[in-house]
Symmetry: C3
Subunit: 382 residues, 3 copies
Amino acid sequence: MKKTLQKVRQSLPASWYYDPDHYQFELEKIWYREWVCVGHVDALQRSGDYFTTTIGDQSIIVTRAKNGAICAWYNTCTHRGSRLCTSLSGRFSHGRIICPYHTWTFSTDGELLATPNRIETSDFNKDNFSLHGVHADTWRGFVFVNLGDAPVEDLADFMADKGTYVDNWPLEDLHPVHREVHTVACNWKIYWENYSECYHCPRLHPELCKIMPVYAKGVFDDGDLPDWEPRFDGDKGFGHVAEDATTWTMDGKTELPLFEGLTDQERDDGLIFMDIIGTFYLVAHADYVRTVRLVPKGPESTDLVIDWLLPANPGDVCADTIERIKALPMLVIEQDGAACELNQQGIKSRPFDHGILVPQEYALWDFHEWLRDRLGKADVSN
Amino acid sequence: MKKTLQKVRQSLPASWYYDPDHYQFELEKIWYREWVCVGHVDALQRSGDYFTTTIGDQSIIVTRAKNGAICAWYNTCTHRGSRLCTSLSGRFSHGRIICPYHTWTFSTDGELLATPNRIETSDFNKDNFSLHGVHADTWRGFVFVNLGDAPVEDLADFMADKGTYVDNWPLEDLHPVHREVHTVACNWKIYWENYSECYHCPRLHPELCKIMPVYAKGVFDDGDLPDWEPRFDGDKGFGHVAEDATTWTMDGKTELPLFEGLTDQERDDGLIFMDIIGTFYLVAHADYVRTVRLVPKGPESTDLVIDWLLPANPGDVCADTIERIKALPMLVIEQDGAACELNQQGIKSRPFDHGILVPQEYALWDFHEWLRDRLGKADVSN
Amino acid sequence: MKKTLQKVRQSLPASWYYDPDHYQFELEKIWYREWVCVGHVDALQRSGDYFTTTIGDQSIIVTRAKNGAICAWYNTCTHRGSRLCTSLSGRFSHGRIICPYHTWTFSTDGELLATPNRIETSDFNKDNFSLHGVHADTWRGFVFVNLGDAPVEDLADFMADKGTYVDNWPLEDLHPVHREVHTVACNWKIYWENYSECYHCPRLHPELCKIMPVYAKGVFDDGDLPDWEPRFDGDKGFGHVAEDATTWTMDGKTELPLFEGLTDQERDDGLIFMDIIGTFYLVAHADYVRTVRLVPKGPESTDLVIDWLLPANPGDVCADTIERIKALPMLVIEQDGAACELNQQGIKSRPFDHGILVPQEYALWDFHEWLRDRLGKADVSN
């Protein structure tokens, strides 16, 4: 046995999943301090291109500045606080961000360039009214922002340990070709917990279990099973697709070329997961890549933004291909979403102080430890 | 004069009718401690039959266990808190309550029977993860639950003084044959107060006043009138149907057989009320029985669940009969509901600290005394 | 230069525009203490006529009593708090306000006249149960109420300094001929601020700027410009309509007769504004009058009630005329409303503590000083 908990553990206090004050506290301590993936550089090819995104209740503009750098700004004018951009994406004409209220005009570097029609006073200094900035950077094509004043590490360091899982996937050559947004009536942690264990798989995901046989045993990885023995030298004990399957489609087949450069085990396993705990995960299949971003909308509501990436431009991908690579993941997400909503509902029972974790829910325990560390709170003696 | 208040009394503080914190306090002190009627045993004929019900924000499963006992459980899995049942009613196949998330399997006795696919650890003891129980019992066919840890009295004692009013009605032989649910935008106490006086009857219920002549005088009972004199030896002074009426239908007539075993006065009166203060009332007519359950949905919203009972199975009752026994009570409830909503709206007026009670509103005073006692709060010096 | 701020000033703290507790505090300190315009006497021609209105969460009845006086009452029965009137306007039959719940009957003077069917007790004194009153008065045809216990000044004094602006307009001869209600998803102060400056005009109101050329420079008045010089002796430096325009219509023309009695400059300017800071403004055009009432509906929602007045009865005004005098003002209000909603959205940005005011936003500063004075709070050192 590779991982798994050796004893029963308590889950988080039930109120943490619905209390509005605790939700706000988590926004402050986690969502406004961590590096959060918000999109892909494909949307920012030319300087002046932008998209807007939301973290908690904060609206952010992400854009490519004149010098080519990716920049991010709070979507608020420094004059009297008007929203600057209302579109999900677009391009700033002449690289200028113009407030729709009084036409204060900012560069994509956040600098206040002009304030038309303002009557001058000697004490007005444009330098004092630059846009409020947000740290932004990219990792292999993905755009991240960090709302903290001073991130504890830069993005490269942040990704160093996580990114190695997908070293062999050509992420830089991929393009987002399809997006789905799925709203789930649950706290963001409930969804992350659901993602973190496969104990629910036998019941919830019969279709997926055909493609991933070990899931039918309620674990993610062969190595999670008590009686596991490596099949070959260097076997990592990961979960892998069935003998007759190649990837996550309804029938396990693919018409797409497999990525070159994968190891034998990577191609044989058919997929690998890369997690950014709590906020994002990437599923690298042998023929396509899929990402899921969690977007908290309130104590009991979470949006999932799901993107599919291929080594092709969106316009060159036919609808049938999208349909094939979308069907199984969306079915699984809908099944998970329904279970998460039941979990959210049940958790308010008065005598239910907290749940418990069984051995194969080890990744929930890791998540909870990570969370408690950031919140500076030990909730229970475990 | 039999009852009535001898002097003007203050009603409850206005804020108690809309303040969310006070609402939560009342849930804790009343709804989560009192015996509350939640349904009828007809829905639980065989072991494994169940229905779900809501008290405050708590979802409860009520079921008949293998040994025939009526049991109730919080509708929450002890693993990670998922809702167990999502249907309003049904039957547990093989008497097993199976969590839809990870298939933890409970008996209808609440015992944890199985946890499929769980990797074993030596410290896991199924006995620690039984369902959280709720006290449940029945009284003459009606199912009650009590969410308190230790009810101060058992249901039989609780009903002892209340039940005598309907001793002569064959409640055990009756079956629910129709249900209506009516939502009213008011605090539960506003509706109970409305039910507790007939001072509003002349204005709100002209149709009902034709059937119940004393209601046209703004009182429930002949005995409430200052000039009342008993009509015969042992006259209890109750309200009674008009000379040419038998029961509560639009024309006062009935095609149904009258219940045998009623006293002359009971049959002559045509009806009697049995109250469980604050939460439930039963109207025993000469030919049918009707119950109304209050279900608080929030500080300013209440569901009324109205059931009609007859000595017949639902399938044997024709639609015309339902229509006849439903029409007048539903008309009255809709009239009352509209008035309750106006009361709820008006009560927020800033100078309105509290209302007052007039003599024939004595049952409101009793209700308020009962409430203050349970809340441990004297609100005013009366 | 006549007015304008001489240095950059801080705007209000951002949270004051959305915090529910602060909103409630402002209701108490401002909306429940100030004289607030709620309508026009035309709706109260005969004794017994009434209309209902809402200030914050308080519903108020305004009526003309038997003696001809305008009176206002909280719309709540003194018995158990029912709403009394549910219509927006109407006439009390026989001058009696009858509660729809228990028929307690009040005169339009607020006196409790009758309590039908009430069983008498010796301690009941009708005089103790008069309606709760609200101060009410009129100014040149407009009806005002004041929910304070003891207004610091009577309405005539309150209007003395404000009313002089429109001394030459025959307000007493005018009748409301059309009403629009426009809901804006913003705090009431955001809308008042928008009304208080023309710095946004060049961008938001191209059509209006054609009629009001100085608005194209981002100021309300010629006198706001640094290089202003009076055009003639006694020039007040107000904003005025374009050379070829007469009034606020899409083409600046009018078919209506101009008001007699205006000074040359008033007619030449084409309009003048009369403000009741924070709650109401009247725009006196050369040919029609328009009023706008702010009605706060919540921390982030405000209704605007816009009335047009002419020296004619509503029935004598053709639809084309209404259309002509309505088109430009409604266009402007819709443009302003959209900007206000963006301002409301943007103001929640975490680093945005407060906005700043530029010289031509002097009226916002005056508004903020007025507000801080009433709230008893200095928010910032300016």
